[in-house]
């Protein structure tokens, strides 16, 4: 058997796992590992400028490819800097393996230099974690880490490795296990037949159905099944913020996003439905509004890989635990005969339901309200122009705030894994590094980061990484000179007292990006919007930063009314409510 040091074993295990990229930053506790990285060329290491960005890059890589993202950081501050990115991945169920260096075993617990209890600190935000005790444990631990991160409901796994465990002078037998079995971990591989049959019955007899699909469909690679099922049934469908792209955004059956900033038609259809089929979604508080008023007439079928998501906030009448793709496959074959024998009456009811929905659609809740005589750019128009300039085909990452919601509303996604944002944790600073991860995975694809002047500054140092690796991302800075989303809430709930939601002392972004060797444009007039964006998108081999000055007073609508509102209670524009 081959003899390797702990450090070499780790890198070999990653290679044997099929890892092609690692995002990281070196330091004392991982020097042996970095030396092993240096002495090989199968894995490309991407050197970031801040460990948080490494985790978001790995996250963007994972969301766009479906393969786990891998991070390598040192102990102490390296590890704690990675925490926000791990929490972000955890909240959105993203497969990720984070390898953190730890101080030498004999120093653990002595408050030694750069010591942090990483397993302890990360415990509530990981799917699982390991502290490696001896080098011989490395191959199996890595195998388990990847297995856990990618199977069932995916999530981040931390592997904390003390420096002495990677000592280059101690050699051990190396072989990488082909499989792992764990008696304490066996995610569901198929749904319960009885429950599936119950669901079929309900789906066959309902009159005002809604399909509500979330990020689980994207992460579970079940988009084609979702499309087939929805077409077969002819039901209306809505996607959560995390599910956008799971069903084609430009399709007639698609009612848009639901929830806090969901469309008038999607939220109303949910509220009035008699059956909600939730697929890979988790009834998050940004979806339900007041839980007791959520979908008062609906029977609820809930399909999810994670049993803890079911009946957590909203009780499921028909719970189905299982992988979304296999369960939907099974359901499609059972539904085909049911749909074929639909009665006239049922068809009539469904037709009437669609008529009601078309009525809500006429509200045209996303129409941009503007004064044509003013030359001010509305942020919604900026997103629409980006859609046009990219033909709707780009990978789009976003940060957090109004621009994120505008991107979700005005850039319809026709494919899964193209829309990448931090939905669960809402992490400002996610957008740029996530876009970098996508671009690393797909060097020839158009990758756009829609951000705000607040969010972009949270990881702006990564412009340097972009120069180093030649990542030709297109950054669209929807610049409203304010922490727009915060300001919106202050307008609506604090009588317009803008406490610290104003972004003063902004840099000259064009000059800033130029100093890193990138290209910068500033757009201040409506007439420039489309031509400059087209020009920017056409620059294939360079990062382009487009700073678009937009109306700072704009709000995101529709917006659910809280507290005590239901899904049909919405603000439709300033001062106009349902």
């Amino acid at each position: 058997m081959e003899k390797l040091s702990g450090a070499d074993m780790l890198i070999r295990a990653l290679q044997d796992e099929g890892v092609d990229h690692v995002f990281g930053y070196p330091g004392g506790a991982v020097l042996h590992i970095y030396d092993a990285v240096f002495r090989q060329n199968r894995i490309q290491h991407v050197l970031v400028r801040h460990e948080q960005a490494a985790t978001h890059m790995a996250d963007g890589y994972a969301r766009s490819t479906g393969r786990p993202g891998v991070v390598l950081v040192t102990s102490g501050p390296g590890a704690t800097n990675a925490i926000t990115g791990i929490a972000t991945a955890y909240m959105d169920s993203i497969p990720m393996v984070v390898i953190s260096g730890q101080v030498q075993s004999h120093l653990i617990g002595t408050d030694s230099f750069q010591e942090t209890d990483m397993v302890g600190v990360s415990r509530p935000i990981v799917k699982h974690s390991y502290l490696v005790r001896t080098a011989s444990e490395i191959p199996e631990t890595i195998k388990k880490a990847f297995y856990i991160a990618t199977s069932g409901r995916p999530g981040p796994v931390v592997v904390d490795i003390p420096k002495d465990v990677t000592d280059p002078t101690n050699l051990f037998d190396y072989s990488y296990p082909e499989t792992v079995t764990m008696r304490s971990y066996s995610p569901a591989t198929r749904g319960h037949t009885g429950q599936i049959k119950k669901a079929i019955k309900s789906l066959a007899k309902c009159e005002r159905p809604m399909i509500y699909a979330g990020g689980g469909v994207v992460q579970g690679d079940a988009s084609s099944q979702l499309i087939e099922l929805t077409r077969l049934l002819g039901f209306p469908i809505t996607n959560t913020l995390m599910g956008l792209g799971a069903f084609p955004g430009t399709d007639k059956q698609f009612l848009g996003m639901l929830g806090m900033h969901g469309t008038f038609e999607a939220n109303n259809a949910m509220h009035h439905s008699d059956l909600v089929f939730a697929i890979g979604a988790r009834f998050d508080d940004r979806i339900t509004n007041t839980v007791s008023k959520f979908c008062p007439y609906a029977e609820i079928i809930h399909l999810d890989i994670d049993p803890t998501s079911i009946s957590k906030t909203v009780n499921a009448d028909v719970p189905i635990v299982g992988p979304v793709d296999t369960v939907l496959d099974e359901m499609i074959s059972l539904l085909e005969p049911e749909v074929a024998k639909r009665s006239e009456k049922q068809q009539q009811m469904l037709k009437e339901w669609w008529e009601q929905i078309e009525g809500w659609r006429k509200q045209d809740c996303l129409a941009v309200i503007r004064d044509e005589s003013e030359d001010i750019i509305k942020p919604q128009e900026a997103v629409q122009a980006v859609y046009k300039a990219t033909g709707g085909k780009a990978y789009v990452t976003s940060d957090v705030g109004q621009h994120q919601m505008f991107a979700a509303q005005y850039y319809p996604f026709d494919e899964p894994r193209k829309w990448i944002n931090s939905g669960g944790l809402g992490t400002m600073g996610f957008g740029l590094p996530a876009a970098m991860g996508v671009q690393v995975a797909f060097p020839d694809e158009q990758v756009v980061c829609i951000t705000g002047e607040g969010s972009i500054q949270m990881n702006i140092q990564e412009l340097s990484t972009c120069s180093q690796y030649g990542l030709p991302i297109k950054i669209i800075n929807v610049n409203n000179q304010s922490l727009g989303m915060v300001k919106q809430w202050q307008d609506m709930q604090y009588e317009g007292r803008h406490s610290h939601s104003y972004m003063d002392s902004l840099p000259d972004f064009v000059k800033l990006v130029e100093s890193y060797g990138h290209v910068g444009f500033k757009i201040e007039s409506r007439d420039d919007l489309e031509p400059v964006l087209v020009e920017a998108m056409a620059i294939k081999n360079k990062l382009v930063f487009v700073d678009i000055m937009v109306d700072p007073s704009e709000h995101v609508y529709p917006m659910l009314i809280a507290p005590n509102g239901s899904l049909r209670d919405m603000w439709l524009s300033k001062g106009v409510r349902t």
Partner: protein, 163 residues
């Protein structure tokens, strides 16, 4: 309602902190907790009692099951079960009190495990209610120290919790 959840988990460092962390993080309460390896040294058996309604206990058991190191668990209070708790209680016992303490201990089938001129230490096992009742049998001023193990339990009959 009081629930007794019995958990079989990998006997690995960190496993216990995950269980406890889960309760803290999700705002569940822990009344008592006891844990020790089983006859199979790779497994630990953890018993905890908690106050939770039906919906919450469903979430608690699901969340516990989701922890990678948890092999299996059972809510003992769902079926017929046996539960025991051990208590050591140190009592002031001088003069006429000595006989009184001894008599009460006998009634509860307690065992005197340590004696000094001024104290009795009594060991008592039983259900939580029995232990509570025993404690209430003495005036607060005579109770010097109490230590309780927390509840352990098993299902009645053939039913067992194995991996």
């Amino acid at each position: 309602m009081r629930r007794i959840i019995s958990v079989l988990m990998e006997n690995e460092p960190g496993a216990l902190s995950r269980v406890i962390g889960l309760f803290a993080q999700r705002n569940y309460n822990i009344e008592t907790l006891t844990v020790a390896p089983t006859e199979d040294s790779t497994l630990s058996r953890l018993t905890l009692s908690t106050l939770a309604g039906d919906e919450q206990v469903e979430q608690i058991t699901k969340q516990l099951n989701k922890l990678i190191e948890v092999v299996k668990l059972v809510d003992l209070t769902e079926g017929e079960h046996i539960e025991r708790e051990l208590m050591l209680i140190k009592l002031k016992a001088t003069g006429a009190q000595r006989a009184e303490v001894k008599r009460t201990s006998d009634i509860f089938r307690g065992q005197v495990v340590d004696v000094t001129q001024s104290t009795y230490t009594i060991q008592l096992t039983g259900t939580t209610e029995k232990l509570d009742a025993f404690l209430r049998a003495f005036p607060e001023s005579s109770v010097m120290e109490v230590v309780r193990s927390g509840v352990s339990g098993l299902s009645r009959g053939e039913k067992v919790l194995t991996p």
